[in-house]
Amino acid sequence: MLQILRRIIQKAPLLVLIVFISLVLTVLALVGRSGPYKEYSTQHGRIPVISVVMRGIHDHVYPWSEGPDDKTQKDGKDKKEDPASSGKEQDTEAADAADQDSKDQGGDARDQAEGGAADKADDGKEKEGDQAEKPEQKGSDPMKVPETSCSKVVDAKDYGVADKSYLSPDDTVYNTDKEGLFAPNGTYYSLQEVDDSYFSDALMIGDSRTVGLYEYGEMADLTSFLARESTTVYDLFDDDEKMEYTPKGKESKERTLKDLLSKAKFGKIYISVGVNELGVPDTKDYYDEFRKVVEKIHKLQPDAIIYIQGIMHVSKKMSSTDPVYNNKAVVQRNKAISTLANGRNIFYIDMNADLCDANGDLKEELTGDGIHLKASACELWHKFLLKNAIVIPGTASPDQ
């Protein structure tokens, strides 16, 4: 027996080593099922158990690591496992903040907004709100937000490919912040056209789409960028998430968002993320995380105007075939995050109306891969930002 084994080892060492390591890894994965690899449980059975160890290495989880409860939850996988608990925690925090704000500012806001024009605008907003899974109304006062402060989310055609597990149930309720999450006063502002000097104290935060804007949108000399391919709203305040920071027209260096916002001052902050997160199930969870990010940014930069940029839609070719990256999911996410805008210092801007066809699909001629704007189309994004800006009277002019 021993002799046969020796012969096998001599004749087929590679085979023996691969089989031996495979067996060891399989045993480790099985033993760690209720320990370090607990959070991969949904994948058991569907994929070979050995890959759990590999994915663990990728997420810095090793056979000797402690269970998932002790691990900092940070990526999408964790969200899938436990959306309830992280969501709940966040809700409480956010609700506290919102309550505080409505106590301080709410009264003012309602007084200020009672005007005919605002009423008219309100109808439009209400309609949109209905589609956006009926955001919670506070009291009997309707929201008075000028229509222009928030572009309409273009509805997408439902191709029937959206994977339900990535969408929130139809009756999900988002806490609307239109009444004023950390709003400074009761005045609402409208979007207007500005020139390029407007961006000189702005910061563009985002994923590969923003990297495209930096490289091809002719904005590198006008404004500052903090972007990284494949970043997500879950990563933005991660201490390990170093992104490429390029101050207006200068060389780039790696910085984390937290560090940058603690040390530099910006007049406007644009956030454009969301496409990578489509793979993370549940819009509600995405919304909660987004809210957390907006709060943190505001805390670090209390005077900055925060722009929440709606997720750009994908092309018809992509949307009609992909269960994850499709416009049904994008529209749902946009409707959720648009409710975070307050029309005073947090604004939701959405360029889809400028870039999409009547079905709400990103025009094919503007995209090469169905997801990103082609280099030659990035200028449209720049133009959109020029036409949809907020100027708050009395704030310092950007050049000073």
Partner: protein
């Protein structure tokens, strides 16, 4: 499971199949190979498995008729049978190709062009009496469907797998048996691992570079990036296909077959014609044996040779895809080969460097035609490669630096492996402990990459 570099294949299908295959008596191996291959095919091609089964039966029956055809007019009737079955096979292939092109791309059954070509070669070899023994149903069925080759080739001949040349031992004709041995398993595994590494660690990484270029839009890439893209895409295609062929060949070896070589260092070729003797060699030799030579081959007038070459290359273009760019690709290659054969033949013989330059410069350009199905976009890419006819839009001059900075290790590894000596050394020294250690690392790193990128919706894409 249908993908050799997928974890389900490596850790589930392959080991289970192999263990059963090795322990059952050799007389049942063809039947088991047939059944296992159907399971494999069904996992990827679903209902098209029925089409495959139908074609297997029809082709076997026609083969039987050709074999047993009696009487005086035997040859004529055999010929009619051959024409009938080749027409049936070709019509099936054309119908599905057209359906895929005109209706929906998912209507093209997985691997159809590969197994149809195997079926046609089976019929032709029967007719040409290359088989020394009557094939059994299980042999034919296992040959048509065998899982290492069904999705992407190589296009093995029946005689390479089953009925090898008979040898005379003590005046009795003995047919070579397909033998399984530990040595073959280890060698097969080595080829499999090398192929897996090429596919996952080089081709898949370089695939991202091409995606980046598509993302930017061809009108906005700088000329250096356009050339980098052409080289990157060429290497991606090469290592994807060579890697796949090595994996297929390695599995074949583990099953006891001989190693089927599909790529013989094409980028070391001296001239385009030589390149295509080495690139996807089993397809090239198929066209040579079943189209070019029946048409008269090179033993006729120059005009007829040119006609034959152009027919072969037009068919090759159509075989790769139905859109116009593939036809242009095939015709361009046909013209290049005619040019080499009739105009610069002596020059290349005297100065081989010219032949090598043809390969290094012209072949990547032909792959660009291969890659871009939209003719307008294709034209745009060529104006970026040769920026004499127009300027780009929103070109970022720093793009080449950015992408070479990211992709140079994969490009460098790819270029090195284009030089025959490195690969040959790896194969030759595969028993060396250092090479075994290297292969082990390649295997597990590949599995790591396959794990984090496959079947995981969270890593699905990174934008």
């Amino acid at each position: 499971m249908i993908n050799f570099s997928g974890l389900e294949f490596i850790f589930r299908f392959l080991p289970v199949f192999m263990i059963i295959y090795w322990i059952i008596p050799s007389t049942y191996r063809d039947a088991f190979l047939f059944v296992g291959s159907l399971v494999f095919y069904a996992s990827g091609a679903k209902w098209f498995t029925l089409l495959l089964l139908g074609l297997v039966f029809v082709n076997y029956l026609f083969g039987e008729l050709v074999w047993v055809m009696p009487g005086r007019r035997r040859k004529t009737q055999q010929r009619q049978m051959l024409i009938a079955i080749v027409v049936i096979d070709a019509v099936v292939l054309i119908v599905f190709k057209v359906l895929a092109l005109k209706v929906k791309s998912t209507l093209l059954p997985l691997g159809l062009s590969f197994y149809i070509f195997k079926m046609i070669s089976y019929q032709a070899d029967l007719y040409l009496e290359k088989m020394h023994k009557r094939p059994s149903f299980m042999q034919a069925a296992a040959y048509f469907t065998m899982f290492p080759q069904i999705a992407q080739g190589p296009i093995m001949r029946f005689t390479q797998g089953w009925i090898e040349k008979p040898t005379n031992i003590r005046r009795r004709t003995v047919y070579m048996e397909r033998a399984v041995s530990l040595q073959k398993i280890e060698d097969g595994l080595s080829f499999f691992v090398i192929g897996l590494g090429m596919k996952v660690l080089i081709a898949d990484r370089l695939g991202i570079l091409w995606n980046e270029i598509v993302k930017i839009g061809f009108e906005s890439i700088s000329t250096p990036l356009a050339w980098l893209g052409a080289v990157g895409y060429s290497l991606e295609l090469y290592f994807d296909f060579w890697g796949y062929s090595l994996m297929a060949g390695g599995i074949g070896l583990m099953l006891g077959f001989r190693f089927i070589q599909n790529f013989i260092h094409p980028y070391a070729a001296c001239g385009i014609a030589d390149f295509y003797r080495r690139w996807h060699a089993t397809l090239g030799s198929w066209f040579r044996d079943y189209v070019y030579i029946p048409l008269g081959g090179s033993r006729c007038s120059s005009a007829a040779v040119i006609r034959n070459l152009m027919i072969v290359w037009l068919l090759t273009g159509f075989w790769h895809g139905g859109t116009l760019n593939f036809i242009i690709w095939g015709l361009a290659l046909g013209l290049m080969i005619v040019w080499e054969k009739f105009v610069v033949k002596d020059l290349i013989r005297r100065v081989p460097l010219i032949g090598h330059l043809h390969v290094i410069i012209l072949i990547p350009l032909t792959w660009v035609i291969f890659a871009i199905t939209d003719l307008k976009e294709l034209g745009m890419y060529f104006t970026r490669l040769f920026p004499f006819f127009g300027t780009g839009v929103a070109v970022n001059r720093g793009d080449f630096g950015k992408y070479i900075g990211i992709y140079w290790p994969f490009l460098a590894a790819g270029v090195l492996l284009c030089v025959p000596v490195f690969y040959n050394l790896l194969v030759w020294k595969r028993k060396n402990p250092l090479v075994i250690a290297l292969l082990l690392v390649i295997f597990w790193v590949s599995v790591y990459f396959a794990s984090i990128s496959a079947g995981n919706p969270f890593m699905y894409f990174s934008f």
